[in-house]
């Protein structure tokens, strides 16, 4: 009897050891490529092919400075921060307004409109970037015509050079950035509205009633009652959308053609496509792209995983 029990324990132990080895190996395959990317970013163009060590003995930290300046990853990095911040802020405002409307306010067609957003999450639309590109180009043409039409008038008021400069600035900077921001807000809208609406639906109505008696109008209730209460849901959509925008590639390729407006993902492909690729600098750029995401993930992993499961459950 005692023999059987110890045999059972031994079998359980062995099972655990096998499980740990299995988990450990898979975990290593997740981490090693990243460590190797980081290590390569600290080598030189000469040693990057020959030095097999994971982290070199003499790390070239200067690569990060060079990647930031010469490799233009500094511009890309700041652009990525800009797009992520603006798009996520936009999504929070637009989707929380809409979700509050769908959840609490009555108007004809509200059910239909909400289901339209839901349907957008479920109908696959591959190649939707084609008409989106056409749309952005058309708006750009209209804008160009408008600017050329009003330039002569503006030239009476402002110096000629200033008008021209501001026109190029609008066409090459403001417009592509704005177009990209709106496209990306649209990408994150449906899921965010869905998450926030489910949250608002479960929220107790009493607080809103109290605020109404205190003289708050609908917008005031949204701002001072709904938004503060929805903080956990807003955290989920903030992190989820941040990852999405930071990692987006194809719309950036189609809409943002100049280097001054490109985000990191696009910048990496451009840098890699150059004739002589400076691998350590490329790896430094990749590390710069990955590190913020990994840090944010490590801090907020609970929210991220919640967002992923929520996103999957809708689909």
């Amino acid at each position: 009897m005692k023999d059987g029990a110890s045999k059972y324990i031994l079998k359980k132990r062995l099972e655990l050891v096998v499980i740990y080895i299995f988990l450990g190996i898979v975990a290593l395959t997740c981490i090693l490529p990243l460590l190797w990317m980081f290590g390569s970013s600290l080598k030189t163009q000469g040693t990057v092919f020959s030095d097999p060590s994971l982290i070199p003995a003499h790390p070239e930290w200067r690569n990060y400075y060079l990647a930031w300046t010469k490799g233009e990853f500094g511009i890309y990095f700041l652009n990525s921060i800009f797009y992520t911040a603006v798009v996520v802020f936009g999504i929070i405002i637009v989707s929380s307004l809409a979700a509050y409307g769908f959840s609490r306010l009555k108007f004809p067609g509200s059910n239909f409109l909400f289901h339209m957003f839901l349907a957008a999450m479920m109908v696959p639309l591959p190649g939707s970037f084609v008409p989106l590109y056409v749309l952005v180009n058309n708006i750009r043409k209209v804008l160009l015509n408008f600017l050329t039409a009003i330039s002569p008038q503006l030239a009476h008021i402002f110096p000629q050079g200033f008008v021209q400069q501001s026109n190029t600035f609008i066409l090459n900077q403001v417009f592509p950035r704005g177009a990209y921001v709106f496209c990306m807000i649209n990408v994150g809208l449906s899921l965010s509205i869905y998450i926030l609406k489910t949250f608002f639906d479960k929220m107790p109505k009493e607080l809103e009633d109290a605020a109404r008696i205190d003289g708050c109008n609908k917008l005031g209730i949204w701002r001072h009652v709904a938004i503060p209460l929805a903080k956990p849901a807003i955290a989920v959509i903030t992190i989820f959308n941040s990852l999405n925008v930071w990692n987006e590639y194809i719309l950036a390729q189609l809409i943002l053609s100049s280097k001054e407006t490109m985000p990191l993902q696009r910048g990496l492909i451009v840098f890699q496509g150059m004739h002589v690729t400076d691998y350590p600098l490329l790896m430094a750029g990749m590390t710069m792209t990955a590190i913020p995401i990994i840090i944010i993930y490590l801090i907020f992993q609970k929210y991220i995983i919640k967002g992923i499961t929520a996103g999957a459950l809708v689909g």
Partner: protein, 291 residues
């Protein structure tokens, strides 16, 4: 007063509806209009050609090949990626030390961008300098050394494996979440009744997990069929046909050969294929559930 109140209510959803209308509904409808046109994307005039774009797609061998390539990547994702995800989820669905650390690590590849993942693995699999070939050489297995990403025999498999590497952590999280909803009393009751682990797995775990499996399968299919940024970063955009997938063909029709109408027609066909696949899968899993 009433009308004004309804008007104010509309204002809450107006920004969302406007953005959605301009950047989702309009392009959605525009695809159908453009698919009937021959248009280079630049000239103000487009030529109406009826369904000739669709007819052309039917005999476009490169297009259908690209569809098979995506199907192959999807097949590997369904088996290798989801199989690994399920094994890991089963391993973590118990009292183990450091379980949370493993969970955190497995989810790192899914949060990285396809560009970064693609470039890392391109560098690992590189024919001349790649760490994989170096490792094979160091171990004396010279016969295994090859140009992984330019050899048509291995390129697609490498892409599929990297895609699975990036995706298994995602499947793992969802499957684990599903496993944890199964009440532990069920397992205990089965143990008391004398069931072994295999019986518990096939008679309790699998039947209860069918809805989760079904969801993971659909999302894997939709995600894997539409993979393309990973391929751009691993082998470049449209340089070779043996790693082409439908979305890359659409992109090539648009930016490469400037045929916007054809690109839209391809998008519609591909969208239909995806809808048919997920519909069939849904029906199948419903039938399995009833059986």
């Amino acid at each position: 007063m009433k009308a004004k109140s309804i008007l104010i209510n509309y204002l809450f959803v107006l920004p969302a509806v406007l953005i959605f209308g301009i950047f989702y509904i309009y392009p959605f409808l525009k695809v159908f209009q453009l698919s009937l046109m021959e248009w280079d994307g630049i000239l103000p005039t487009m030529q109406f050609v009826g369904i000739s774009n669709f007819k052309e797609i039917m005999t476009d061998k490169i297009w259908w090949d690209s569809m098979w390539h995506a199907g192959y990547i999807t097949l590997i994702a369904l088996t290798f990626q989801n199989g690994l995800a399920l094994l890991l989820a089963l391993a973590c669905d118990r009292e183990i030390k450091y379980g949370n650390i493993f969970r955190v690590i497995f989810f790192i590849p899914p949060i990285l961008s396809e560009v970064v993942v693609g470039l890392i693995w391109q560098w690992i699999l590189d024919g001349n300098y790649g760490i994989l070939n170096n490792a094979f050489n160091a171990m004396g297995m010279h016969s295994l050394v090859r140009n992984w990403l330019s050899d048509p025999k291995t390129a697609l498999t490498c892409i599929a494996v990297v895609h699975s590497w990036k995706g298994f952590g995602w499947g793992f999280i969802i499957l684990l979440a599903g496993l944890q909803t199964i009440p532990k009393q069920l397992y205990e009751a089965a143990k008391v009744d004398g069931a072994d682990s295999w019986q518990v797995f096939t008679k309790i775990t699998i039947p209860l997990m069918i809805p989760v499996f079904s969801m993971v399968i659909i999302l894997t299919i939709l995600g894997s069929m539409q993979v393309f940024v990973l391929i751009i970063s691993m082998v470049g955009q449209g340089l070779v046909h043996h790693t082409d997938v439908p979305v890359l063909r659409i992109l090539a029709s648009m930016t490469g050969s400037s045929r916007f109408g054809y690109a839209c027609a391809q998008g519609i066909i591909f969208g239909l294929v995806l809808i048919i696949i997920s519909f069939t899968q849904k029906k199948l899993s419903e039938r399995i559930k009833q059986a």
